[in-house]
C-alpha cells in the first residue's frame, strides 16, 4: 500500500516537472479553462454553478458527448441566449487534437500575415524631404507607434493610397519650418480618426473580451465568428439591418412590445401583508357579525401604470434607430394611453396625438416624416429640453419615466446637461438609450457629461431594447 502511494507521488512529481500545474491536461484544469472561455463570452458563471457543473459531469456518462454538453447546458447556461453561446463554445472548445493543431496553425498564419503587414507600413509611409538650401534629399519614415501601425494596416486600400499620395505630393515643393513634425502630426491625427471610426464600426455583437492568451483567444475568435456568421436579427446593429431583415425585425418588435404591454396594462393589488388595515371598512363590514372583527379589510393601493415621456432624436445620424424605437412605442400605445412622444433634431415637435392606432405603423411614420421638418437634420438637445420644460410643464411629474433615445451628439451640450439635471429633479427616472456602442463611450465627451444625470444604456440592437424594457422599465 505504502509503496503504491510513493509511486503515485513520484509520478505526480514527474508530471509536474514537465508542465506547470495549470497547463496540465487535467479534467479540472480543462473545465476551469472552458468556464474561463465562457465568462469571456459574456456568460455570468458563479463559483456555485461551476461546482454544480463538475458535480453534474460526474453524474453523466463522460464518453457521451451529447450528455456532457447537456450537463453544461443545464448548469451553466440559464437563458436561451446563453445556451446558444455555450453550444457554439462547446463545439469549438472540445475538439480533437488534430483540429486544435489546425486552428493553432491558422491563427499563427493570420498573426504572421498581420506582422508582415505592420512591418510593411514603415516602407509605405515614407517620403523624401529636401533639406534646406538645396541639400540632398533624405528619406524619412513617419515615426508611428505599434498601435498606429496596426490601424494603418487595417485601413481599406484606397485610404492607404491617399495617405501615401499625400506624403508624396504635399510637402516637396512647399518648405515650412520643421516639416517633419507637421507631417507626423497630420498622419497621426488622421490615423486617430480612423481608430475611432474602426472602433465605432466594430465587428458587432456578441460582446467578447479577449484574454491575451493565444490558445483561449483562438477559441473565442472561432465562437464569435460563428455567431456573427449566423446573423441573428436580434443581435444585429439596427443600423446594419438590411431591407430583407425588416419584416422579421418588425415582427420581433411588435412581439416585444405586446409582451410588455400586457404587463403594463395589468393592474393588480399589492399583497395584503404590507398594507394597512382599513378600520372604517372593517367596522362597516363586520356590523353584521355583531361587531366581532370577523373579516378584516385592508387598504389597497392600485398600481399605477408608468407614464412614459419619450424624447427621440431624429437627426441625421439617428433616424434609423428612431424608427425602431418609435415602432416599439407604437406597439405599446395600442394598450396604454400615457405615452407622450416628442421628436427633436434642430427643433422639437410633439407627435403624441399623431400615433393613430387604426393606421398601420408604416403609414403613420410616413406621415410624420413627410410633415416634420426636423427629420434627418442636426441636433440641438438643449433646445428640446428647454421647450419641453417650458411648454409642457404638466408632463413632468414624479410618475413619469423619461426615455431619451439619442447618440448624445448635440450642440450646446453643456447647457443641455444642465437642462437634464433640472429635469431629473422633477421626474421619476430618466433612462437614456444610447445608440453608440459602449466601446466608444469613453472616447465621447458628451456621454460622460449626460451620464451624470441619467441612467444610460447601450441600445443598438433589438436584444438591448428588449432587455432594457424588461429590466428597467417594469421591475
Amino acid at each position: 500500500m505504502k509503496n503504491d502511494a510513493l509511486k503515485e507521488e513520484l509520478l505526480e512529481r514527474a508530471i509536474e516537472s514537465v508542465h506547470r500545474s495549470e497547463a496540465r491536461e487535467y479534467i479540472e484544469n480543462n473545465l476551469a479553462r472552458f468556464m474561463h472561455v465562457l465568462r469571456h463570452l459574456g456568460l455570468r458563471i458563479s463559483s456555485a454553478e461551476a461546482i454544480d457543473a463538475v458535480n453534474a459531469l460526474s453524474a453523466v456518462n463522460l464518453l457521451d458527448r451529447r450528455q456532457v454538453e447537456t450537463a453544461f447546458l443545464a448548469t451553466l447556461a440559464k437563458s436561451p441566449e446563453d445556451r446558444l453561446i455555450l453550444d457554439r463554445a462547446f463545439q469549438a472548445y472540445f475538439v480533437t487534437p488534430e483540429k486544435k493543431a489546425e486552428r493553432a496553425e491558422r491563427s499563427k498564419q493570420a498573426r504572421e500575415r498581420e506582422a508582415e503587414e505592420i512591418s510593411a507600413v514603415e516602407d509605405e509611409l515614407k517620403y523624401e524631404l529636401e533639406g534646406p538650401g538645396g541639400e540632398e534629399a533624405r528619406e524619412i519614415r513617419v515615426p508611428l507607434t505599434e498601435e498606429e501601425k496596426k490601424i494603418y494596416s487595417k485601413l481599406p486600400a484606397d485610404r492607404k493610397k491617399k495617405l501615401q499620395e499625400y506624403l508624396q505630393k504635399q510637402f516637396q515643393s512647399n518648405p515650412v519650418n520643421n516639416p517633419e513634425q507637421l507631417i507626423t502630426t497630420m498622419i497621426k491625427s488622421s490615423l486617430n480618426y480612423w481608430k475611432y471610426y474602426l472602433k465605432f464600426q466594430g465587428e458587432g455583437p456578441p460582446e467578447v473580451d479577449y484574454t491575451g492568451e493565444e490558445e483561449i483567444d483562438e477559441i473565442l475568435q472561432e465562437v464569435v465568428e460563428k455567431l456573427r456568421a449566423e446573423e441573428l436579427v436580434l443581435y444585429q446593429d439596427i443600423q446594419k439591418l438590411t431591407e430583407a431583415d425588416m419584416p422579421a425585425a418588425a415582427a420581433l418588435i411588435s412581439k416585444l412590445s405586446r409582451r410588455l404591454a400586457t404587463r403594463i396594462s395589468r393592474r393588480y393589488r399589492r399583497s395584503k401583508k404590507r398594507e394597512r388595515l382599513d378600520l372604517r371598512r372593517t367596522i362597516r363590514h363586520n356590523i353584521r357579525y355583531g361587531g366581532t372583527m370577523f373579516r378584516l379589510k385592508y387598504k389597497t393601493k392600485k398600481v399605477q401604470k408608468p407614464k412614459i415621456l419619450l424624447i427621440c432624436d431624429v437627426s441625421g445620424s439617428m433616424a434609423r434607430y428612431a424608427g425602431f424605437v418609435l415602432q416599439f412605442i407604437f406597439g405599446l400605445s395600442s394598450v396604454t394611453e400615457d405615452i407622450e412622444t416628442f421628436i427633436f433634431s434642430e427643433d422639437v415637435e410633439r407627435i403624441t396625438g399623431e400615433i393613430d392606432k387604426s393606421q398601420s405603423f408604416e403609414k403613420t411614420m410616413a406621415e410624420i416624416i413627410n410633415r416634420s421638418e426636423g427629420w434627418g437634420r442636426g441636433t440641438d438637445f438643449y433646445k428640446a429640453l428647454a421647450v419641453i420644460a417650458e411648454k409642457h410643464k404638466g408632463l413632468l411629474n414624479k410618475d413619469t419615466f423619461v426615455l431619451i433615445v439619442s447618440d448624445t451628439k448635440t450642440l450646446n451640450a453643456e447647457k443641455a446637461a444642465a437642462g437634464l439635471k433640472d429635469m431629473k429633479r422633477k421626474v421619476k427616472d430618466i433612462i437614456w438609450l444610447n445608440t453608440l456602442p459602449k466601446k466608444v463611450w469613453a472616447d465621447t465627451a458628451t456621454v460622460s457629461l449626460f451620464r451624470r444625470y441619467c441612467r444610460m444604456f447601450e441600445c443598438n440592437t433589438l436584444a438591448h431594447l428588449d432587455k432594457i424594457m424588461r429590466t428597467q422599465m417594469l421591475k
Binding site: Q67, T70, A74, S79, P80, R258, S271, M293
Partner: protein, 305 residues
C-alpha cells in the same frame, strides 16, 4: 428513488411523455444533484407536464403552487385560520370553563393552521414533487422569499419554531420568460429550455396520444404544424395540445390526409385568434399548405383555398 438515465428514459416513455435525451438528462441531473429544475419555454410545450410525469414515476403527491401577480407568503406558505380562532375565543368566553392558558395554547395548534403548498411540501411524509408554476408572474420580493425556502427547505412559524423538511422535495419551476428571473434564483436551479418539438418528435407524440390516427394523416399534421410555426409570425403559435386537438378533430371527420377543405374547416382549432387566422389566410393559405405537404410547394394560388 435512485434511477439511472436509462431507467428514467424508460419511465418517461411509460408515462407517455415523449422526451428527447436532453430533457431526460437534465431532469436526471436535477434529481441527482437535488436541485430545483427550472423549465423555460413558450406556452404549450409540456413544461408543467414534466412535474406531473415525475410525480407519477415516483408514485408520490404532486403539490402545485400556481403563481400570479400579487401572490404572497400567506397564500404560498401558511396562514392562521383567523375566523376559526375568533369563534373559538368567543365560545370559550360563553362557557368560561377552560382556563385562559389552554385556550391560547390551543389557538395556535395544527387545527387552526391553513397549510399552503410550500408548507405542505415541507411537512410531507413521502418525498413529494413540488410544482411552482409560472414563476415569472410573481414580484421580485416573493421570488427572493422563494429562493430562500428552496435553498434551506425550512420555515419558521413564530408560534412553533423552525420546521425542517422531512425530505428534500423534487422541485420543478416553470416560466414563460415573461420577466427575467433573478440571477440568484437561476443560480440555484438546473436549467432546461423546452422549445417547440421537431416534426419527428411531434409525430411520435401524435401517434402516442391520438388513437386510431392513420400514418399518413399524423405525418402530415406534424409537418403542417411545424411549417406553420416556422413560416408565420403569429400572436400565438400552435402548442402541442392544439396539434393533438387538431389531429383528433381530423380523425373524427374521418379524414385520412389533409386537404384544403379539411384544413379550412378546422382552422379554428389551431389558431385561437382572428389575427392569426387572417395572417394564415393571407400569407400561407390552406392550398399552399397542402401543396407544401405534397411536395409541390411554390404554386402560390393567392392563398384563398
Amino acid at each position: 428513488m435512485e434511477l439511472t438515465i436509462e431507467q428514467l428514459t424508460r419511465a418517461f416513455e411509460q408515462q407517455g411523455y415523449i422526451a428527447d435525451q436532453e430533457t431526460v438528462v437534465t431532469a436526471y441531473l436535477a434529481l441527482t444533484l437535488q436541485k430545483p429544475l427550472l423549465v423555460e419555454g413558450p406556452p404549450g410545450v409540456g413544461k408543467t407536464e414534466i412535474a406531473k410525469v415525475l410525480a407519477n414515476i415516483f408514485d408520490t403527491e404532486l403539490i402545485r403552487l400556481q403563481c400570479y401577480e400579487g401572490l404572497d407568503e400567506n397564500k404560498a406558505l401558511y396562514e392562521w385560520n383567523y375566523q376559526k380562532q375568533l369563534i373559538k375565543i368567543q365560545l370559550s368566553q360563553v362557557n368560561r370553563e377552560g382556563e385562559c392558558q389552554t385556550v391560547e395554547e390551543g389557538l395556535f395548534s395544527a387545527e387552526y393552521l391553513l397549510e399552503r403548498p410550500l408548507l405542505k411540501a415541507i411537512r410531507a411524509e413521502k418525498r413529494p414533487v413540488l410544482l411552482i408554476d409560472e414563476i415569472d408572474k410573481v414580484d421580485q420580493e416573493f421570488e427572493a422569499f422563494l429562493f430562500e425556502i428552496l435553498s434551506d427547505f425550512q420555515v419558521s412559524i413564530p408560534e412553533w419554531g423552525t420546521l425542517k423538511a422531512r425530505h428534500i422535495p423534487v422541485v420543478v419551476l416553470t416560466s414563460n420568460g415573461e420577466r427575467e428571473l433573478s440571477d440568484g434564483l437561476k443560480r440555484r436551479c438546473v436549467y432546461l429550455y423546452l422549445d417547440f418539438p421537431t416534426p419527428e418528435k411531434e409525430l411520435r407524440i401524435i401517434t402516442a396520444k391520438v388513437p386510431g390516427i392513420g400514418r399518413r394523416l399524423s405525418l402530415e399534421v406534424a409537418k403542417a404544424v411545424g411549417y406553420i410555426r416556422d413560416k408565420l409570425e403569429l400572436r400565438k403559435k400552435p402548442s402541442i395540445a392544439e396539434t393533438l386537438d387538431w389531429a383528433r378533430a381530423l380523425v373524427s371527420l374521418d379524414a385520412d390526409r389533409l386537404t384544403p377543405e379539411t384544413v379550412n374547416l378546422t382552422l379554428n382549432i389551431i389558431f385561437k385568434n382572428k389575427d392569426d387566422i387572417d395572417s394564415f389566410r393571407q400569407n400561407l393559405g390552406p392550398q399552399e399548405l397542402v401543396g407544401f405537404l405534397n411536395g409541390t410547394s411554390g404554386i402560390a394560388t393567392g392563398g384563398r383555398g
